[in-house]
């Protein structure tokens, strides 16, 4: 045994040496691979963090951008108290510029990734389709124009004449409005914040006048990026059919006595549009809408014709981006169902260009006796509350943020759980809302939004932030139109008896409400004028006959004729006749009774 141990001790160390060598080799290999793996991981993380930071910054911009549409300021969190989203941090700063433009800057940090993006937006409080007939400059109407309304979603204009829907026109401006003699405005006038109304004698405005809380900012026309390389100048005996699609022309002209049909769906961009004498331009929107963008000038000769294949006003839209000073002349003969938007142009519309839809422009020259009928459905179809995005860019981020590429929570000393989520980190504002709870109760709240519990709201009825509405009921702004029938307002206006007779005769047959109002008018119509109006609206209902019997305006003889014409009378009418003060003459009463 001793021998063996002595032998072992002499060879001790050989295996150890080999083991050490092997361990060293394996260790070096392991260290090398670990280093390589760490390097790859760091590299991949850095790349992923960079991409995630960019996406976070985009998310911040998107949240702020949509916030602007809801009357929020756009600011989200701050560098001291950023919002948390995913595993990153972000905040959005806003800078308000003249003209209402808002610049948003979204800074995001994720791992080692950093990104700052900027966006310029132009908030729009109302969709331009809701503005009715609107000019951003002063509006001066020529004599004898008629501006009223209808709802294309509920029927044709003809069906809605002299109904409540005919009495909801909107004539607006950011400045003054001058209403000339003979103007009939069935609806209301909304002037600018500093504007005034000049109402000439003989002009009628059924819905009164109000002042807008803020002047409207008209967003610029967003012309599609289509490049025009050629012109289309058509002259021919057979109609020229322009196929659907996205098209651009330098000049689009339809020559003398020629006919061109634009077929939807179509987006057409032209520098200049010209219709010659007797030329006809048809907007065929049977298969889809047509958006026509005019970048420079538009000129429709007096004897030209423009028509639309359907009466859907949102299907035909004309956008004019031409600056002021360029000729924009709608001189054609037309019953045009569509929407015209020209925020920088002065628009000339002839009396024979009858517009059904809406018109928003900088300045308007509507010829005497012109007619425009605002389509109430346009407000819903063209409403766009999203701000107009004007520019996006990558912003150089502050050095203090860019240089330290470590976990942002550690760098900024923030606790993730103590931070607000992206959607909850909007800047606090004064919230004014009216709402229904889940129990059906109607409540209102006025105070800081941070102190309001939105879970109480089952149905929002009205909402504003810092005085700027973000949710309005459908009938908002219609409260000051009191009459259901524009002719009732006409009866109650200051027109003379003769003027009123002429207007009512021209509008006959008129509603029972208008006839009843005419019978009870103060000051009263003359007996002959009232008799003429009643006579033109035979047969009369019992309610109208009752009003006629009660009217002191009708002479005994005129009333007798009306009663005999409607005999035998209903018992309540007969009772009213017998009780009338002053009574009918005995001979007239005898004649009436003889017919029963």
């Amino acid at each position: 045994m001793t021998h063996l141990c002595q032998s072992c001790s002499k060879r001790r160390g050989g295996a150890l040496l080999l083991s050490v060598v092997a361990v060293m080799v394996v260790s070096i290999l392991a260290a090398g691979f670990l280093n390589l793996t760490l390097s790859v991981t760091r590299r991949m993380n850095a790349s992923a963090d960079s991409a995630r930071a960019l996406e976070l910054a985009e998310a911040g911009l998107a949240e702020a951008y949509t916030g602007l549409a809801l009357a929020r300021t756009g600011a989200i969190g701050s560098e001291a108290a950023p919002a948390v989203f995913g595993d990153g941090l972000l905040w959005v700063e806003t800078i308000e510029h003249a003209g209402g433009r808002v610049e948003l800057r979204s800074t995001a940090l994720h791992g080692s990734g950093r990104a700052t993006l900027g966006l310029v937006a132009q908030p729009t409080a109302l969709g331009v389709g809701s503005l009715g007939f609107f000019t951003s400059e002063d509006l001066r109407l020529n004599p004898d124009v008629r501006l009223d309304s209808y709802d294309s979603a509920l029927g044709t204009y003809a069906d809605q004449m002299n109904t409540a829907l005919n009495n909801k026109g909107i004539v607006g401006s950011n400045g003054d409005v001058s209403v000339a003699s003979g103007n009939l405005i069935f609806g209301k006038i909304i002037i600018g914040t500093l504007g005034t109304v000049d109402l000439a004698s003989g002009a009628i405005v059924t819905g009164g006048t109000s002042q807008r809380a803020d002047d409207e900012v008209l967003p610029p026309v967003d012309v599609p990026p289509l490049t025009a390389t050629t012109s289309l100048k058509f002259i021919g005996a057979t109609p020229k059919i322009v196929a659907p699609g996205e098209l651009a022309y330098q000049t689009l002209s339809v020559g003398k006595a020629s006919n061109m049909v634009l077929t939807g769906p179509m987006t057409l961009v032209v520098d200049d549009l010209k219709l010659g004498l007797g030329a006809e331009l048809v907007f065929d929107t049977t298969d889809g809408p047509i958006q026509l963008y005019v970048k420079n000038s538009l000129d429709m000769a007096t004897s030209s014709i423009v028509s639309t294949s359907t009466q859907v006003t949102s299907d035909t839209q004309i956008y004019v981006s031409a600056p002021a000073g360029k000729s924009v002349n709608f001189g054609a003969k037309s019953q045009f169902y569509g929407f015209i938007y020209a925020p920088e142009a002065e628009i000339h519309i002839s009396a024979q260009y009858e517009l059904y839809g809406g018109l928003v422009c900088k300045e308007l020259q509507l010829a005497a006796q012109g007619k425009m009928h605002y389509d109430l459905a346009l407000g819903a179809t063209l409403k766009s509350t999203l701000p107009v995005l004007q520019a996006w860019r990558v912003v150089e981020m502050p050095t203090s943020i860019a240089t330290v590429r470590k976990d942002p929570f550690a760098v900024m000393g923030l606790e993730k759980n103590a931070l607000l989520a992206l959607g909850e980190a909007h800047a606090d504002q004064l919230l004014d809302i009216r709402y229904e709870t889940s129990g059906g109760a109607t409540k209102s709240y006025l105070g800081l939004e941070s102190e309001f519990d939105w879970s109480e709201v089952a149905l929002l009825l009205y909402g504003s932030r810092d005085g700027l509405a973000f949710f309005l009921p459908d009938d908002y702004g219609e409260g000051d139109i009191v009459a259901s029938d524009p002719l009732v307002d006409l009866v109650e206006s200051s027109l003379s008896s003769k003027q009123l007779r002429d207007q009512l005769l021209a509008a006959s047959p008129v509603s029972s409400d208008a006839l009843i109002a005419a019978c009870g008018r103060d000051p009263a119509m003359s007996s002959s004028d009232l008799d003429s109006v009643l006579d033109a609206n035979y047969p009369l209902g019992s309610d109208v006959l009752l009003a006629a019997v009660a009217s002191a305006a009708l002479s005994s003889s005129a009333l007798k004729d009306a009663l005999i014409a409607h005999s035998p009378l209903a018992p309540e009418v007969l009772d009213a006749v017998l009780a009338r003060q002053p009574p009918l003459s005995s001979s007239d009463l005898s004649n009436v009774l003889a017919k029963q």
């Binding site: 080799v25 790859v40 003249a98 990026p225």
Partner: protein, 195 residues
Amino acid sequence: MKPTSSQRAGWTLVELMLAAGLTGLVMTKAALVLREAFGAAGRSTAAMHPEDQARALMERISLAIMGSDRDTLFPAAESVHTSQIRYSMSLGLEDGELVWSEPEEIRLDGSAVEWRENPGAADERRVTWTSLVSPLLAGEVVNGEDDNGNGLVDEEGLSFELDGDSVHIRLTLRRPEVDGRTVEQTVESVVCIRN
């Protein structure tokens, strides 16, 4: 019989040779393993650099194009690819008005990607972003055919293809290594023009 001390000490020649041979074998093997491992690590690291460079360059080009104004983009023609693109990009608002940059250009010049401000003008400013661009995109040969199946014919190492408001960017970097090998890295991206 007790063994003498000379018998107990030392190794036989056979034992020595065997031990030396085995040790040498183990050491040689270990050296080979180390060499192979370091070689693999080196190759991997070498491949990373062009990929990093390609991705960084792609991000730079992408962000420039994303922030550009679509109306100023040139060439504006779709369905043709090009190795240079000119644009103006948003600089934000100044005194309430939108400000756009002077014309800028990203172009392939030989094997270099250059960014130029006011290209062709007297006050032109240029910066070389990389000098490692392959003459042709990976898999492509100058033969009038689409060799790499991406729909483009004989495209260069940097190519831009416009499709509506989107730009398809393709880039191949090629870097010679000290051991004579060439590392090639291709990246591509589709970005949407935001303005």
